[in-house]
């Protein structure tokens, strides 16, 4: 029987990066996962609401967790930022019954269901890079990546703070490396894979943000990568949509295709490129498709 999750794609995957949502939905049955929609779930606030109104941030996120609890499933995310915001709220209220009581008071007053701390939040990468997940991939008889040289880009908020995230060593993550190798790709290792992409401040401080994304883009390029892969649509926007701007500002060329994690899995499993919608990327992925043999 398929493992059911309350599916929280996050706003960016639902709107500007629809290709990620579509690919994840197509991938789910291949991984023996059923994605149960969360129609009442709001934005997690992406750290911005926490920065403006901390109590509101906590209440909104607990309301999301409560919807998952009502559905009876743990939450599955496909965004680093959503994962951190939801896990942080979950940890705060699970560790402090008085705080949970206060938040529930607000929820009930607004007509929402109270939360009793009954769900966990996990990212697709975490689920699929475990032995159980890799076994599901194996069952699909992956066509493979044909030696594609992939630079894993983790970004920040799926790794840090480890007291909230805790899936793997934040300084030596290996989950994407395991996946890339299991799917017949080569890992292009580089120092910038755990540095910030700059996206949270890209609209307010573009110049600083593009200096930050340079570290990872140049690192992946210098490691001889055919492409980067990221588990976060915000990192994807910074690395893909803003890549030409970063080239122009930093006076260099990267020419680095950037894949969403489910797209890399989709390629290895033979998913149709129509579903994965590479045409929505700013940096063409033709070279990647050619290497994989699509």
């Amino acid at each position: 029987m398929a493992r059911q999750f309350a599916y929280y794609p996050g706003c960016v995957a639902e709107f500007s990066s629809k290709e990620l949502n579509a690919t994840t939905k197509a991938l789910a049955p291949m991984l023996d996962i059923e994605l149960v929609p969360m129609p009442a779930a709001t934005c997690c606030g992406a750290g911005d609401i926490a920065e403006a109104k901390p109590n509101l941030y906590l209440t909104l996120n607990v309301r999301i967790l409560s919807e998952a609890e009502e559905l009876g499933h743990d939450v599955l995310t496909i965004c680093n930022v959503c994962t951190l915001n939801l896990r942080r709220a979950n940890k705060l209220v699970k560790e402090d019954p008085r705080l949970l009581e206060q938040v529930n008071g607000e929820l009930v007053k607004a007509g929402s269901r109270p939360y009793s701390g009954g769900v966990d939040v996990t990212h697709l990468l975490w689920y699929i890079s475990t032995e159980e997940g890799l076994a599901h991939l194996e069952k699909q008889g992956p066509r493979g990546l044909n030696g594609l040289r992939v630079a894993p880009y983790y970004g920040c908020q799926l790794l840090r703070p480890s007291s909230v995230m805790g899936f793997e060593d934040p300084d030596k993550p290996q989950s994407m490396e395991r996946l890339i190798r299991a799917l017949g790709g080569e890992v292009a290792d580089y120092e910038g894979k755990t540095k910030c992409c700059g996206f949270p401040i890209i609209l307010a401080r573009e110049e600083v943000a593009l200096k930050e994304s340079h570290v990872a883009l140049a690192g992946a390029r210098d490691a001889g990568a055919d492409c980067m892969v990221t588990p976060c649509p915000l990192c994807h926007l910074a690395m893909d949509a803003y890549q030409r701007k970063a080239e122009s500002q930093n006076g260099t060329e990267y020419n680095m295709p950037v894949l969403h994690l489910p797209q890399l899995l989709g390629l290895a499993l033979g998913m149709s490129t129509d579903i994965m919608q590479f045409k929505r990327h700013m940096v063409p992925v033709d070279g990647v498709l050619e290497t994989v043999g699509v």
Binding site: R63, C156, L203
Partner: protein
């Protein structure tokens, strides 16, 4: 007894060899040995010119932060054998902390750090003459400041701050932890001024949320959380439109209030109303790739609950 090779960053600008280099030292030592004690052993027994800054050896003075195998640590808190277990190697590489200029070996020039700490006015500014006895503060009010009060100014947070690496003028995590320590103190009378002081250029809104400071702080101060709290104070003090960073956060609030989900397309002009029209070519490219979704609110089910929460939830920062 274990034997460890220490590959240490050397920089002696006044010596015969003024360029930085790495030097290997071998040390046979007891199982229990901190990195600081190892460095001091090397200094005492192998090379008296090896420079390191330290004082208390007890994780109180904050002097001995350095990088060990690429991670910032407080040398006096860090066991050598734990480092070797983490790296799977008998060699430990030791570097000065990052985002600073080295002065000599592991000693860096901390002046920019101290200037930034000073810039946040890290002291209580109370109104009126001092009372005859101490100012009594409820326990709960001080408990809110416990984490920030534990900061020992070791600069471990500053060392790997991603914002600082891209913008050397960023005020930085430790200084803002001290900023919140006083902006959040009910005895302080300068909350509004502090909100303004901390949210200018290179301030609170320049934090890129890499979470490195929370990860590295040896005293669990969680400086990023303090920066977030300063954002909350800025909003409470009416500084929700004064900076692109604040308007960015405000746009999220508006999105949630009007629909529940983020309205990405409206985020751009709301954050930067003057710059957005100049960025039209980029906007067109985004539009052509389908990356500029409808600017209308994205409604979630039971949005009335969300509106009620936005209206009712009171901030206590």
């Amino acid at each position: 007894m274990p034997v460890t090779t220490f590959k240490i960053f050397r920089y002696q600008p006044d010596a015969v060899r003024p360029e930085p280099f790495y030097q290997d030292f071998t040390l046979e030592h007891e199982e229990q040995l901190t990195l600081l004690d190892a460095i001091l052993d090397l200094q005492n027994e192998q090379d008296g010119t090896l420079a390191v800054r330290y004082s208390c050896r007890s994780a109180i003075c904050g002097s001995c932060a350095c990088m060990a195998d690429g991670r910032t640590v407080l040398a006096c808190m860090q066991q050598v054998e734990d480092l070797k277990q983490w790296s799977g190697s008998d060699t430990v590489q030791v570097d000065p902390i990052g985002n600073f200029k080295p002065v000599k070996d592991l000693v860096v020039d901390l002046d920019p750090f101290w200037e930034k700490v000073k810039s946040v006015k890290p002291y209580l500014i109370a109104d009126g003459p001092p009372p005859e006895k101490e100012r009594i503060v409820p326990k709960e009010a001080m408990q809110r400041l416990v984490k920030e009060s534990n900061c020992i100014l070791c600069a471990a947070c500053y060392s790997e701050c991603n914002s600082l690496a891209a913008d050397t003028e960023f005020v930085g995590p430790a200084a803002f932890a001290w900023g919140y320590r006083f902006a959040g103190d009910i005895r302080d009378s300068r909350r509004k001024e502090r909100a303004k002081l901390y949210t200018g250029p290179h301030g609170v809104w320049d934090c890129t949320r890499c979470m490195m400071c929370n990860e590295r702080c040896p005293k669990d101060v969680d400086p990023r959380d303090a920066i977030e709290k300063l954002g909350g104070i800025a909003f409470q003090e009416g500084r929700d439109l004064h900076d692109a960073g604040a308007r960015h956060a405000k746009a999220f609030l508006l999105s949630v209030r009007h629909g529940g989900k983020l309205n990405e397309t409206m985020l751009v002009p709301l954050t930067n109303p003057l710059k957005a029209p100049l960025d039209l070519p980029f906007a067109v490219k985004m539009l052509r790739k389908g990356k500029a979704p409808s600017p209308l609110p994205h409604k979630v089910k039971r949005h009335d609950e969300v509106k009620a929460l936005v209206k009712n939830v009171k901030e206590t920062i």
